[in-house]
């Protein structure tokens, strides 16, 4: 790696972290991305289409993934976590825990012979548990780096993969490593995770088969997903003719500890509703909402289009309860239409609960390691909304993407670039 002072460490390889890495690397500085999962790409890699243009997510993200992978100034450490951090702005010493992948990254060509041979099938995290993967796997086809990983929790040590691998890349004896890294600046881009909607038993998630969450829906309509892109009920293979989307679940709810708005759920649900109509133009699609927050560039226009062109129906009201019929597996949504003050019971063949965003697992631990204060909501606290919207209390540590609160993709990307700008000011000072 290049001169220590000219290096930045980026925690998290989602779209914000990737953007920050590219913008720092473009200035000639070295960058190390530390990513917890086996591939960079983050949440964006999981989603099917993006609002408000319905661009397919993989299509616009893939070139970014490959740009990051190929950039000579960027090092990607996947399966890795920040161990400890010491030092100060301009001169941090970081210890990174690089967990054993049991596959040599240099040798693996991503051919997949090992996975074909592997006898163990487990639910795929990437497919939200709806599809399956092997115990040796890549999370998704465009995974970057395109290197297999052994899931030791499920590995039965049959050694079949080891034998079949022509490149002799698999080493089931591999051990975790500690990588030392000197960085001038650190960017926290850890992202966020979905609220667990089973916290609302009245909405039926995890109780009824045909109530799914929005990320599961993304995987269901994705061509590379478990159904090959066919929008069907996994319970009985039926094409749902009536679909309901329930908004503000785990968002704007003080009781559940999520008082804030998650910013993206309105739009992703409108987009999902449109995609549902796209998959089946004869379906009836309803969105149950509190306020439609279509605030970004082109969002309101998209909302109008969903109503006018696609015929998505919007009903203002918080859903009281989702009930399941005894035989059909169909669901009934009980909701007050607040615009008519009428209590309504609407039958759906599939219900999608749209969860809000919460800080990722391990956020407070990371914040402690970095010595950063957090907000009451559990995100990294920014220095000031005008003077330092991507700065933290530590002058060498910056934050972007969802690490300081929910954001959509363009806002995350802008923040990634902004954090890169701030980091390079520090890096350049070290160079002088």
């Amino acid at each position: 790696m290049a001169k220590s002072i000219g290096n930045a460490l980026i925690v998290g390889g989602g779209v914000a972290g990737m953007q920050a890495a590219l913008d720092i690397a473009a200035q000639g500085f070295g960058v190390c991305i530390v990513e917890r999962s086996p591939s960079i790409g983050g949440r964006m890699a999981m989603i099917d289409k993006t609002f408000p243009t319905l661009d397919c997510s993989a299509c616009i993200l893939t070139p970014k993934l490959s740009e990051v992978l190929r950039h000579p100034n960027i090092t990607i450490l996947t399966n890795s976590e920040v161990g400890s951090v010491s030092g100060k702005a301009g001169d941090y010493k970081v210890r990174i825990l690089k967990k054993a992948r049991y596959v040599d990254e240099e040798k693996c060509s991503g051919c997949g012979d090992c996975a074909t041979e592997c006898p163990v099938e487990v639910p795929s995290e990437f497919d939200q548990g709806l599809g399956f993967r092997k115990a040796i796997y890549v999370p998704f086809p465009q995974a970057t780096p395109n290197v297999y990983t052994v899931d030791m929790d499920n590995c039965i040590m049959c050694n079949r993969c080891v034998k079949v691998c022509e490149r002799e890349a698999i080493d089931l004896e591999m051990v975790d490593e500690i990588v030392e890294f000197d960085a001038g600046a650190i960017i926290v881009a850890t992202g966020a995770q979905l609220f667990d909607v089973s916290a609302y038993p009245r909405l039926g998630y995890s109780l009824y088969d045909n109530v799914i969450n929005a990320m599961e829906f993304e995987r269901l309509v994705n061509a590379a997903g478990p159904t090959g892109g066919h929008l069907i009920r996994l319970s009985d293979g039926k094409v749902p003719m009536s679909i309901g989307f329930i908004q503000c679940v785990g968002a704007r709810d003080v009781q559940k500890g999520v008082p804030y708005c998650s910013r993206i759920c309105c739009m992703y649900s409108i987009k999902n509703a449109v995609m549902a109509m796209e998959h089946n133009p004869d379906a009836k699609v309803w969105v149950y909402y509190a306020d439609i927050r279509a605030f970004g560039k082109g969002f309101e226009e998209f909302y109008e289009m969903a109503k006018a062109r696609f015929g998505v129906r919007f009903l203002r009201g918080r859903v009281a309860e989702v009930m399941q019929g005894t035989h059909s597996g169909n669901l009934v949504v009980k909701v007050e239409d607040t615009e008519t003050s009428e209590i309504r019971l609407i039958e759906h063949e599939m219900v999608i609960v749209s969860p809000g965003m919460i800080p990722p697992e391990g956020m407070s631990k990371l914040a402690r390691k970095l010595g950063l204060p957090m907000t009451d909501d559990g995100y990294i606290k920014i220095e000031h909304s005008f003077f330092g919207p991507v700065a933290t209390k530590d002058p060498g540590v910056f934050v972007c993407g969802m690490a300081d609160g929910p954001k959509d993709i363009p806002d995350s990307v802008s923040a990634g670039s902004a954090a890169a700008m701030k980091a390079t000011i520090i890096l350049a000072k070290g160079e002088e």
Binding site: T50, D55, C59, N222, Y260, R293, G298, E301, S385, S417
Partner: protein, 583 residues
């Protein structure tokens, strides 16, 4: 610039998951391509843009000694750079690549006609292959990037961008048309979500900018001429007071021209009473302990806000967008004012307090008994002025009742719209605008800060309605883009420029007259004088090539032959191309 080798074309048809293959019979398209002249390899593949797909192209180039590549996938506006890089890595000049748009232009817009879509896909591939046969390689050129950024607009975004670039060690020329820096934020007595006045926020920034040794600030000034190309722009700035003009050479540009608050004449009796003001006007009122009625100076006891004034109006050009900042600003203002004012009412369509701390203001306002009332989308409140009193009536959706109110002051939360001279600015910097009237970014999701004019970035509300905090983030991001170019010091530019074949030139001067960039001049050193193109100034529109009546101008990568060969491939059967009759 000639390709002497026989064309050996590889055709790669992408499924894009189901996006293309769900409608178009991609296998049939790939099979048809095999039979086309000069095609030596053809296949279909799940994701051409994936690492595996890219590797496939590189492998096949080597395996079949391909010297032309056609990828039939998505819009070249998305992936042309990706594939150009891929072929280049395999030793094929980037200009020998051609992309067919089977997704945006075929599968997504002819979803219900798979057969016709497949026919169209085949035609488009035929056309592209025909074009590939006559493509020529072009040199890859780089130009230096001057280490100065022009920042247009001295509002909060412009100031932030200037400071970041200056702090990073590059020079900045900051041009502001008003006499003072600070933009709208400077005028606002209170900002949300922080509990500060605009002045408190903006003053330190202005002070730092003024003191910065790398930042040159020109107020009362306007860019009146903009010429050149990425890394090497020539800018003329005029002082609006003295009319003095100065020229500067700069490398990159950040346009941060911001917005103006919409003045809602024709809405809710605005202009009929001094007691009806916009939210911006309220925010600009001089701070005082007690809010006073503009008409008679008596204290305001009842105040009402109406949201979405000039925003969210389907079918009204330039007013269809949500203005993003107003809900939270209204909630904040209402919560603050409620401490001194007896009745505070907010009429809204949706409450969009989405951002950090916004929802808290909304809750605070509710806690303080600010009254929120939702009006129907299709029946806006009615405001009349009688005997200089403001009367409002509307239907509350949630209570399903007709209500009336007589506020002492009515505040209209109006849209953010682009400044009046945005068309002029767009033209100056060759920027395009979206339906909301603001500038289009290069890509709405992944490239929100760069534009289609290489070297020109946009930041803040010049891109879309935004609040001050978001504008600041944008500004730093745009600064990173500018610095990225300058730190490298050089950048590759397109070789798609025009060229005069001097032996065919008859010095008719037509090209010189029509070139919008003054890129063509007469070479007087030869006899007779002929036209020549200054390539660095040419932006590749090709107007000269079509205007030239003696076919003396070639537009590289878009020659007459390269265009007409596509038309032929579409309309003429192979037999016809050999000189036969149509079938």
């Amino acid at each position: 610039m000639t390709q002497t080798d026989d064309p050996r074309i590889g055709v790669f048809v992408c499924h894009c998951g189901h996006n293309i293959a769900g409608v178009v019979d991609v296998e049939a398209v790939a099979k048809m391509a095999e039979s086309l002249p000069n095609v030596v390899f053809s296949c279909d593949e799940m994701f051409m843009c994936s690492d595996a797909g890219q590797q496939l192209i590189r492998d096949k180039i080597e395996e079949h000694n391909l010297n032309r590549v056609v990828v039939a996938s998505c819009s070249p506006r998305m992936h042309e750079p990706t594939f150009r890089r891929v072929v280049e890595e395999a030793g094929v000049n980037r200009y020998l690549f051609d992309q067919v748009n089977l997704r945006e232009h075929v599968s997504w817009c002819h979803t219900r006609q798979p057969e016709a879509a497949t026919e169209k896909a085949k035609d488009l591939v035929k056309m592209s292959v025909a074009r590939a046969r006559v493509l020529e390689d072009l040199p890859i050129k780089t130009v230096k990037v001057l280490a100065t950024t022009l920042v247009v607009g001295g509002g909060i975004a412009g100031l932030r961008a200037a400071l970041d670039i200056g702090d990073r060690g590059f020079d900045v020329l900051l041009v502001e048309k008003e006499s003072e820096l600070g933009g709208h934020v400077a005028k606002w007595t209170h900002l949300f979500p922080a509990d500060e006045s605009g002045a408190e926020v903006i003053k330190p920034l202005i002070k730092d900018v003024k003191a910065h040794k790398r930042i040159t600030t020109l107020t009362n000034s306007k860019v009146i001429e903009f010429d050149g190309y990425i890394g090497n722009f020539e800018v003329t700035v005029e002082n609006l007071k003295t009319e003095k003009k100065q020229k500067f050479d700069i490398g990159t540009v950040i346009v941060a021209t911001g917005f103006i608050p919409f003045r809602p004449y024709g809405y809710f009796a605005y202009g009929e009473s001094p007691d009806i003001v916009t939210l911006a006007e309220l925010q600009e009122l001089a701070p005082s302990d007690q809010l006073l009625k503009p008409s008679d100076g008596t204290p305001v006891k009842k105040i009402a806000f109406i949201g979405c004034v000039g925003s969210r109006e389907p079918g009204v050009k330039g007013h269809e967008h949500c203005s993003r900042h107003c809900c939270a600003a209204t909630a904040k203002a209402a919560a603050d004012l409620r401490e001194k004012i007896e009745e505070v009412l907010i009429l809204y369509q949706d409450i969009r307090t989405y951002g950090k701390g916004h929802e808290e203001f909304y809750r605070l306002a509710r806690r303080r008994h600010v009254i929120f009332s939702k009006f129907p989308r299709d029946a806006k409140p009615v405001v009349t002025v009688k005997n200089s009193e403001v009367h409002m009536s509307w239907r509350d959706v949630l209570a399903d009742r007709e209500l009336t109110f007589q506020p002492d002051l009515l505040v209209l939360a109006t849209a953010m719209i682009p400044p009046e001279d945005i068309a002029e600015t767009a033209k100056m910097f060759s920027l395009t605008r979206s339906g909301d009237g603001f500038f289009n970014p290069e890509h709405i999701k992944l490239a929100p800060l760069t534009t289609h004019t290489a070297g020109v970035m946009i930041a803040g509300a010049s891109q879309a309605a935004k609040n001050a905090s978001e504008s600041v983030i944008d500004a730093s991001g745009a600064a990173a883009k500018a610095v990225g170019l300058m730190a490298k010091g050089e950048v590759e530019i397109e070789s798609t420029v025009s060229h005069v074949l001097s032996e065919l030139c008859s010095s008719c001067h037509t090209c010189i007259t029509v070139c919008p960039y003054g890129a063509i001049n007469m070479d007087e050193t030869v006899d007779p004088p002929v036209a020549f193109v200054t390539e660095a100034k040419c932006r590749g529109c090709g107007t000269c090539a079509s205007a030239c009546p003696s076919s003396a101008i070639i537009m590289y990568h878009s020659t007459d032959n390269q265009i007409m060969t596509m038309v032929e491939a579409y309309l003429c059967s192979p037999a016809q191309l050999e000189g036969g009759e149509p079938q």
